[in-house]
């Protein structure tokens, strides 16, 4: 009866000298993987144009209806781009369906995950906010 008790004590003492696994969050941030699904963002192509062609596929597939796209015609024939592109991060479930559906690779999920805000309207991202790194 005493043997297992002593073995248990030895085990806990052994743990005491191991390195703690705590990540002290606000100072040190957790390293997320390459494929981490964080905030959605819009991408530009090499010439600096928004890749998005306002095809509404992401808006259609979005299961939580977080995306709103308002299209706008360009000066040339068949030129179409979003006048407004709004993502409500309070609704977004970070499923990545928009990224899969996009034929142009224009919308991607980045690796940011700090979502806490004091006000809800801060989480409604417009085109300019989505184009930030």
């Amino acid at each position: 009866m005493i043997g297992p008790l002593l073995k248990g004590l030895g085990k806990t003492l052994e743990q005491m000298f191991r390195k703690p696994i705590t990540i002290e969050y606000p100072e040190k941030k957790r390293e997320v993987s390459e494929r981490f699904r964080g905030h959605p963002r819009l991408l530009r192509d090499e010439t600096g144009r928004i890749k998005c062609v306002a095809c509404h596929l992401c808006e259609t597939i979005c299961p939580s209806k977080a995306i709103t796209v308002v299209p706008e015609g360009g000066p040339q024939m068949h030129d179409k781009h979003p006048r407004e592109f709004i993502v409500d991060l309070a609704r977004c479930i970070f499923c990545g369906f928009c990224q899969e559906a996009c034929p142009k690779g224009a919308i991607m999920l980045n690796r940011k995950y700090e979502l806490a805000q004091y006000r809800r309207d801060v989480l409604i991202y417009d085109k300019e906010k989505l184009l930030e790194e």
């Binding site: 008790l5 806990t12 003492l13 703690p20």
Partner: protein
């Protein structure tokens, strides 16, 4: 006129002891959280001050300024008194425990008048050098059960009441084994005066003669202080928080203080009875006492990090059917040995 000097010295010693003990209690809470943290691969509190060293202070301030919720039902007077009974009963035994060799010269000259301090043992490192110190300690420290059971009853809450009742049953079962385990030491030392027991361990600490007694004492002490694995009185999954469910603010703080003071007290008694008290080479005697007591307090925390809580019937069975017969056998063997070689 000598009595003025006696009174001043005793008061000074008591004040010093109280200050050191309360500080130790505050840091025992930090030590518990830190050690448990490290054993669970966490860091423990480290935000308040360097390495979290000011955490007890912050906790104290927080407890002090919390709202003191008083109950509209139950027994308000007993409800208010209960934490004090527990806290006082947990601290008082320390008065009889020798914590150092000597703290004052045997005689002092005051205005050309010689006062003999050795007459009442006032030069020694103990507040009250009682002839029956062990009896005093056992009697006072078991009073803390009253505070707990009164608190549980006065809260007018079934869970608190069950917690309080568990304390009485547990105390009665284990107080017996605790007292019986101590008898072995008394037989070997031939005295109940703690200073004499410590002096008798000058060559060899009593743990060498009483290894069984030491283990029995520690086991019973875990039950006495209601620590894991015997902390059934505040068993969260059955009793919410047991007897202190309805307590808040400094009343809760007093219960908490009593718990840790109790741990320190039983550790100090174990050090005095089995580990040679303040005796040790090289270092000053008071430091040895603190180090040994600290090691035992660490052991209490270590055990908490290791073992799960026992079931209530297991607790009772273990107390009456294992611990008590073993302590009686220990007395028998010790008695025979003392009669033959002592």
């Amino acid at each position: 006129m000598d009595w003025i000097v006696y009174a001043v010295i005793t008061l000074a010693k008591t004040a010093l002891l109280l200050f050191v003990l309360l500080t130790a209690v505050a840091y025992a809470t930090l030590m518990e959280r830190k050690v448990l943290g490290f054993m669970q691969l966490r860091l423990g509190p480290n935000r308040v001050g360097p390495w979290g060293l000011l955490q007890p202070l912050a906790d104290g301030v927080k407890l002090f300024f919390k709202e003191d919720i008083s109950l509209p039902v139950g027994e308000p007077r007993l409800y208010a008194v209960a934490p004090w009974v527990t806290a006082v009963a947990a601290i008082t035994p320390f008065l009889a425990i020798p914590f150092a060799d000597t703290v004052a010269p045997e005689t002092v000259q005051i205005f050309g008048h010689t006062v003999d301090l050795a007459r009442y043992g006032l030069h020694r490192g103990v507040v009250a050098d009682l002839p029956g110190a062990i009896l005093f300690i056992l009697a006072i420290s078991s009073l803390s059960a009253y505070g707990v059971v009164l608190g549980g009853w006065a809260s007018d809450n079934r869970y608190s009441l069950l917690g309080g009742i568990r304390v009485t049953a547990q105390m009665i079962s284990y107080e017996l084994s605790l007292g019986m385990a101590v008898v072995g030491v008394l037989l070997v030392a031939g005295s109940m005066r703690l200073t004499e027991i410590v002096d008798a361990q000058a060559r060899m600490p009593f743990i060498v003669y009483q290894p069984m007694g030491f283990i029995l004492y520690l086991t019973a002490a875990f039950a006495e202080t209601c620590r894991t694995p015997f902390d059934l009185i505040e068993c969260e999954n059955e009793l919410v928080a047991g007897y202190h469910t309805e307590y808040s603010s400094m009343k809760f703080g007093l219960f908490q203080l009593a718990e840790y003071a109790h741990i320190i007290t039983v550790s100090a008694i174990a050090v005095t009875l089995y580990l040679g008290g303040w005796q040790g080479p090289w270092l000053p005697s008071g430091l040895w006492f603190v180090l040994k007591t600290g090691a035992l307090v660490f052991f209490f925390i270590w055990v908490r990090a290791t073992y799960p809580r026992v079931r209530y019937d297991q607790l009772m069975t273990f107390g009456w059917k294992v611990l008590l017969p073993l302590s009686l056998a220990n007395i028998l063997v010790t008695g025979c040995a003392v009669a033959m070689w002592g």
